[in-house]
């Protein structure tokens, strides 16, 4: 295994993505809106297209704003259809994101004569390339350290999410578990909902532009669900899911380097492997979690079964 500085940076960037995603991800899982990350990552296409058509550049900041706005709109429209039309939330989410994606595709194709905007290219940043885009460098002792732009962006998003989660912990918690109670306590549950959605939109957009959509979708849901199997306390769930996500990023990158040579290939994609690793960690928790794992459930069921296990009484 040939480990260089770039590999360290990839793991760091992956871990920052994991932390940025895990914090809002826990609330998404608890609210039953886990598919929101996937929905937003598809739905932002018209935002990207419009930002591009209006400004005429592929400057990442305008694209980011456009995408983030449409990301929040996805949440707003979903809520709107759910409330107004009394449609199941999953279905309204699906309708909104497919429609927005189609709209974006239409815009891009309509403008295809003048512009060059490839949806595939827009949607998939690549974590392996992040180390080429250096934002600044500094001397650390005697070594020169290059800090990739991706690390700065994802570090700030992670910090932002951390601040929001810490400052609004009580409000987010109470409105995730019991919106009615939150309202009676004087907390605007609707506002908290949209705060969370904005957080998810910003995180998703920032992260997929930099590292690709697969990592984001995986890191939003899977570590949070894994942590949900391991604890009943929300603050522990947040901490555990961040740790699990970060370790999945590390293990995933190592696997991406180590596994392919073993089966006769050169290398494979790190982002895919990170997603697979979150899945593997989930499976471990699913089977062996102390209270909610499959194994412990079977064992505890045995305890309950025993007193009743004799022959059935006959008339």
């Amino acid at each position: 295994m040939n480990w260089i500085v770039d590999d360290t940076w990839i793991v760091i960037i992956g871990a920052l993505t994991a932390i940025a995603c895990a914090l809002p991800g826990c609330f998404l899982v608890l609210r039953g809106m886990s598919m929101m990350g996937d929905a937003i990552s598809h739905a932002v296409l018209p935002g990207l297209a419009i930002a591009f058509l209006v400004t005429g550049t592929r400057a990442s900041f305008t694209m980011f704003i456009g995408a983030a706005v449409v990301g929040v709109l996805t949440a707003v429209f979903t809520q709107w259809i759910t409330n107004l039309g009394k449609v199941d939330r999953g279905a309204s989410m699906g309708i909104v994101f497919t429609t927005l994606f189609a709209l974006g595709l239409l815009l891009i194709v309509q403008a295809a004569d003048y512009v060059d905007l490839d949806p595939g290219c827009v949607l998939y940043g690549n974590i392996e390339w992040t180390t080429f885009d250096v934002s600044f460098e500094f001397n650390w002792g005697s070594t020169l350290v290059f800090v990739p732009r991706a690390a700065i962006i994802l570090g700030s998003v992670a910090l932002l999410n951390l601040c929001i989660t810490v400052f609004f912990f009580k409000e987010l918690k109470i409105s995730a578990f019991d919106p009615e109670l939150a309202t009676t306590q004087g907390i605007n549950a609707q506002l908290m909902h949209y705060l969370l959605m904005t957080q998810v939109a910003i995180t998703t957009v920032a992260a997929f532009e930099v590292v690709g959509s697969i990592i984001v979708i995986a890191m939003l849901v899977t570590p949070a669900a894994t942590a949900h199997l391991l604890t009943d306390r929300l603050h522990w769930m947040l901490v555990i899911s961040a740790i699990i996500g970060a370790s999945a990023a590390g293990i995933g990158h190592v696997l991406a380097i180590v596994v392919p040579p073993l089966i006769g290939f050169e290398s494979t994609t790190t982002s895919g492997m990170m997603a697979v690793t979150t899945g593997l960690l989930f499976i471990v928790a699913w089977l062996f979690a102390p209270n909610y794992g499959w194994l412990s459930r079977i064992l505890s069921r045995k305890d309950v079964e025993n007193p009743f296990s004799g022959p059935l009484p006959t008339d």
């Binding site: 199941d88 279905a91 699906g94 194709v109 494979t268």
Partner: protein, 462 residues
């Protein structure tokens, strides 16, 4: 993804081009239009069951779960079987297998842990998609892989559906149609009451697997032919639109199939006629427009319809409250003079204090009652009911009291609480109910109120 179908360079198609497309004379166009129509029909059918089981996004999870299967099938075929890697049926088989594994995993996670459906779908979607990209990058390094990639599987290529695709879509649609008809009763039971169907001895998990296998079939052929986003929309939007028009599952399923095929047909036709309209996107937008229209104007659950019935009920409740209040005041006024209740004028102030309502609300209610011909006279201080208004007021008060007495005698509710409880039912009492109450309580006239009604003159509102 510029549509390759438009055969004119102009922005608007000529009459010949229009006829050409509408009559399906061009074989390529015909293939696309027929395939999307049939696919819309099939996915509209299964989409209904998915929607009612609150699993609409299963198509989303599934279509991502197909990706590793495509790559793995390619590896297996080229490395171990010595086949040509682009063998369509082999790739589709691979996609179907991992798709079904994904679906089964979603069910297992849901059934054996505290993780809910949505998170289970999110996990399967992201992990399988990640696995898919891992496998596809490996495939790209393998010998025998040519540039025209397997990725077209992900995005689809509606404009260039082949004869093989079209045949496959029709075959799958036939299977889906047949299964939906034959297993209609079972699916219905599964959708509405899973617990009941289990208790009746139906193999619930088996039925669930069959239903999801049908969804997998539709997704796999659709994914290949028309792309990821379109097939996800096809599975959700027509069913959700149909739901607004009916409360009957049979009607809903038929309607959803029709909406699906209309969006498929119209979208593909538009895309063939006009330049630069990708078929997949246009179909999704057509379906979304049908959905929006249904959401507002649907005859069973549409927004307008619901607002209208809510408005009507509000008016009715307001009218009944006003008339009963007037009648109760009249009763009290007549009692003071020891007379039988009669249609005497009621002071506005007393009326205002009778219930907790604002002067504005009372004036609004009075205007409404005047409009409905229930009021004879309004001057500055007094209100008097008309002939029909008095009759109606007596009837309403009587219904209210019959129900109150019923609650006291048959439901053991304290007399002091009964006014509030009766209020929630009296507005929807049917004539049959009233007749039954009369018989049961053996009362024909207007009974006295079973509880004390406070009068403003004697110490404030009730």
């Amino acid at each position: 993804m510029v549509s390759g179908l438009h055969n004119t360079g102009l922005d608007w198609p000529s009459i010949e081009a229009l006829l050409n497309v509408l009559l399906l004379e061009n074989s390529t166009t015909a293939k696309v239009v027929i395939s999307t129509t049939v696919l819309g029909l099939a996915s509209g059918l299964v989409g209904c069951f998915l929607l009612l089981r609150k699993r609409s996004l299963m198509g989303d999870a599934l279509s991502h779960a197909c990706l590793p299967g495509i790559g793995l099938a390619f590896i297996v075929m080229t490395q171990f079987m010595g086949l040509e890697g682009k063998n369509l049926s082999g790739l589709l088989l691979g996609a179907t297998i991992t798709g079904i594994i994904g679906v089964v995993l979603v069910m297992m996670i849901r059934n054996t842990s505290r993780i809910k459906d949505d998170a289970a779908m999110g996990i399967v979607l992201s992990v399988f998609f990640g696995l898919g990209t891992v496998v596809l990058t490996l495939v790209q390094q393998s010998p025998g892989y040519s540039a025209a990639g397997l990725e077209s599987f992900i995005y689809g290529k509606t404009a260039s559906i082949t004869q093989q695709d079209a045949d496959m879509i029709q075959a799958v649609a036939a299977v889906v149609f047949l299964c939906s008809v034959l297993l209609f009763k079972e699916f219905k039971l599964l959708c509405f009451d899973e617990g009941f169907s289990r208790s009746q001895g139906w193999p619930v998990n088996g039925l669930d697997v069959i239903l999801l296998a049908l969804v997998t079939l539709v997704t796999v052929v659709g994914l290949q032919a028309v792309g990821l986003i379109l097939i996800i929309a096809f599975l959700i939007t027509p069913a959700a639109a149909a739901r607004f028009w009916t409360n009957d599952l049979t009607v809903m399923v038929i309607l959803s199939a029709i909406i699906g095929s209309i969006s498929g047909w119209l979208g593909a036709t538009l895309s063939a006629l006009l330049p630069r309209l990708p078929a997949g996107a246009v179909i999704v937008l057509v379906a979304a427009m049908i959905f929006m229209f249904s959401m507002f104007f649907g005859s069973a659950r549409g927004v307008v319809r619901r607002w209208l019935s809510m408005y009507k009920l509000k008016r009715k409740i307001g009218r009944q409250h006003l008339l009963r209040a007037v009648f109760e005041i009249q009763e009290a006024l007549c009692l003071e003079q020891s007379k039988d209740p009669a249609n005497v004028a009621v002071p506005f102030k007393t009326l205002l204090n009778h219930r907790s309502w604002t002067p504005k609300r009372v004036r609004q209610l009075l205007r409404q009652a005047d409009h409905e011909d229930h009021i004879d006279l309004i001057d500055g201080d007094n209100v008097r009911l008309s002939e029909s208004g008095f009759g109606e007021a007596a009837r309403i008060t009587r219904n209210h009291r019959l129900w109150e007495i019923f609650l006291i005698t048959h439901a053991d509710i304290a007399a002091s609480h009964v006014d509030r409880d009766a209020d929630s039912v009296e507005h929807v009492l049917s004539p049959d109910m009233v007749r039954e109450l009369e018989e049961k309580l053996d009362m024909l006239g207007i009974p006295e109120s079973p509880h004390y009604i406070a009068q403003a003159a004697r110490g404030g509102p009730a």
